[in-house]
């Protein structure tokens, strides 16, 4: 059995893992390995053939495969080793990583640092508790996307979609353009969790109705799905009797949320957050276990890949600093979700010690509902240290604020709290 040392081992060769590898290499570490379970790099971007990627990072709009290729080319150009078709089986807190593939069999890597970049997966049908038969024809939107875009076949002819997440909206258009009939999209919340541009360009353009405050209450069919029943819901998200509508369809697509994929992280006993479902990290993206870092959708679910790449570059750089013994030493304080705020990342921050340079810290979070003309305020203990007006905050778009280095330099040893004041 192969057993070897590697300075930085990155789990996942999607946008997060690739950007982390680039960040680490550019910070001066050469002994890097990216492990990917699929047979090619790029992660989910390969099946996201629509455009809209890269506007923030490259200032041009690209399709998913084109965006992925930019990073794949960069990784190749930098000569960073990658290992595809390889499954990581476990990671422990001492950064011993066990992986397996068909050619080399079982492998053990003793890593100087590990970067968790496994991404997320879709919430499945079984998690929804919808009444009815368990027939075929029910897919997550991402599964349907893989069938259509990577395998070249259409999962069904008459389609209903539950959940208005972006993948569901994108698939409404995709299925329509490929000749299927999309009957409607039901969203349990009073607002869509998808981007406006997707509502306009994927639903409105094709006359596909969006039923807000509606959910699927029953699926029916013997072998194959034959129809779904939807109903309006009240403010407690309970179906209202008498509001049922029936749709005859052979396919139900689900776009009902993404869940960070953290089985490996839990095996390494890293402390987890209940709100983000990802590891708890500090401002260098280090988890509660020394030398184990996390970035991208495994840390918290993003809306735009551009922000995944930015975050992961920083995580890669921080892992390289760990290898070079340049990790910050400051006192750790907690960052807390305040009023109207969910899932602040990072959850911990280091107050720089004497002789250490403070750096700007980007703080990301989601609002708990839609706010217009609200103010985001940051407190350090009882002191307000930052305040900014936001024209609009919506749960469908991750919000961020930058705490400048002079603020970081002057932090007191007390928790930081982020509030939204409307």
């Amino acid at each position: 059995m192969l057993e070897k040392h590697v300075d930085i081992l990155i789990i996942g060769g999607g946008p997060a893992g690739l950007a982390a590898a680039i960040g680490a290499k550019e910070q001066g570490v050469d002994d890097i390995l990216v492990i990917e379970r699929e047979d090619s790099l790029g992660g989910i971007l390969g099946q996201c053939i629509h455009n809209g990627f890269g506007l923030h990072r490259f200032k041009v709009e690209m399709t998913g495969p084109e965006y992925a290729q930019m990073d794949i080319d960069k990784v190749r150009e930098l000569g960073i080793p990658t290992l595809c078709d390889t499954m990581v089986l476990s990671v422990d807190e001492n950064r011993r990583v066990v992986a397996i593939n068909k050619e080399q069999g079982l492998m053990v890597f003793n890593a100087g640092a590990v970067i968790l970049a496994m991404g997320c997966r879709e919430r499945p049908f079984g998690a929804l508790g919808i009444a009815g038969t368990r027939c075929s024809g029910i897919f997550s939107a991402g599964t349907a996307q893989k069938y259509v875009n990577l395998m070249g076949f259409i999962p069904g002819k008459k389609v209903f979609i539950l959940g208005s997440g972006d993948i569901g909206l994108i698939m409404a258009r995709r299925m329509t353009l490929q000749g299927s009939e999309v009957l409607g999209v039901a969203e349990i919340m009073p607002y869509s969790s998808g981007l406006n541009r997707n509502i306009v360009q994927c639903l409105d353009d094709y006359g596909i109705p969006l039923y807000l405050k509606h959910t699927v209450i029953e699926v029916r069919g013997k072998e194959r799905l034959e129809g779904v029943t939807i109903a309006e819901v009240d403010d407690m998200r309970k179906p209202i009797p008498g509001t049922e509508k029936h749709f005859d369809c052979d396919t139900l697509l689900l776009s009902v949320g993404l869940i960070p994929e953290n089985e490996l992280s839990q095996g390494a006993n890293v402390e987890m957050s209940n709100t983000t479902s990802g590891p708890i990290v500090d401002d260098e993206f280090q988890t509660s276990k020394a030398g184990i870092f996390a970035c991208g959708n495994v840390l918290h679910v993003h809306d735009l890949v551009d922000f995944v790449s930015d975050e992961s570059m920083k995580a890669g750089k921080a892992a390289a600093n760990f290898i070079n013994k340049k990790t910050k030493k400051g006192t750790i304080i907690n960052m807390l979700d305040g009023k109207g705020v969910r899932g602040v990342v990072p959850q911990k921050l280091k107050i720089p010690v004497d002789g250490e340079d403070a750096e700007n810290v980007q703080v990301m979070f989601r609002p708990d509902k839609v706010y217009e003309n609200a103010r985001v305020k940051v407190y350090n203990g009882d002191n307000e240290i930052y305040s900014v007006k936001k024209r609009i905050l919506a749960p469908g778009e991750m919000a961020d604020i930058i705490l400048k280095k002079d603020i970081i330099q002057n932090l007191q040893n007390a928790p930081i709290r982020v509030d939204i004041e409307s």
Binding site: H50, E61, P65, E66, R391, G396
Partner: protein
């Protein structure tokens, strides 16, 4: 000249202003209910000549996986379905490189369809 009032949702930011746009023939004469200049710019284009990028996949002889393709520029919205028909009629064979033109001047739009990956 015929006057129409169109409801246009701005796509530039999460506010999603629902604008009322008055059009006379091919001229935008009034825009209401917008919050910023980006909405005005979008409404002017969208009311008169809405443009869309089209992305799709197509079969390629000699490749196990479909080829992803896109219009190199946005095309008029009313040409989308003709464009999809033209895409369905493509008969390509590998190798094809990302960026290569697979169909020139689709539906006389002056826009080419190009590959977005290599197969």
């Amino acid at each position: 000249m015929e006057t129409k009032v169109l409801n246009i949702t701005c796509i530039n930011c999460p506010v999603g202003c629902r604008m009322n746009v008055t059009v006379e023939g091919d001229n935008v004469v009034d825009i209401k209910d917008y919050a910023c200049p980006r909405g005005v710019k979008y409404a002017k284009q969208e009311a008169v000549a809405p443009l869309r990028m089209v992305t799709a996949v197509t079969k390629v002889e000699g490749s196990d996986i479909p080829l992803s393709i896109k219009t190199a520029e946005p095309i008029p919205k009313n040409k989308i379905s003709d464009c999809m028909i033209a895409i369905r009629c493509l008969a390509l064979s590998s190798p094809i490189k990302a960026g290569e033109v697979v169909l020139a001047n689709v539906c006389d739009t002056g826009v080419d369809i190009i590959a977005t990956k290599s197969v």
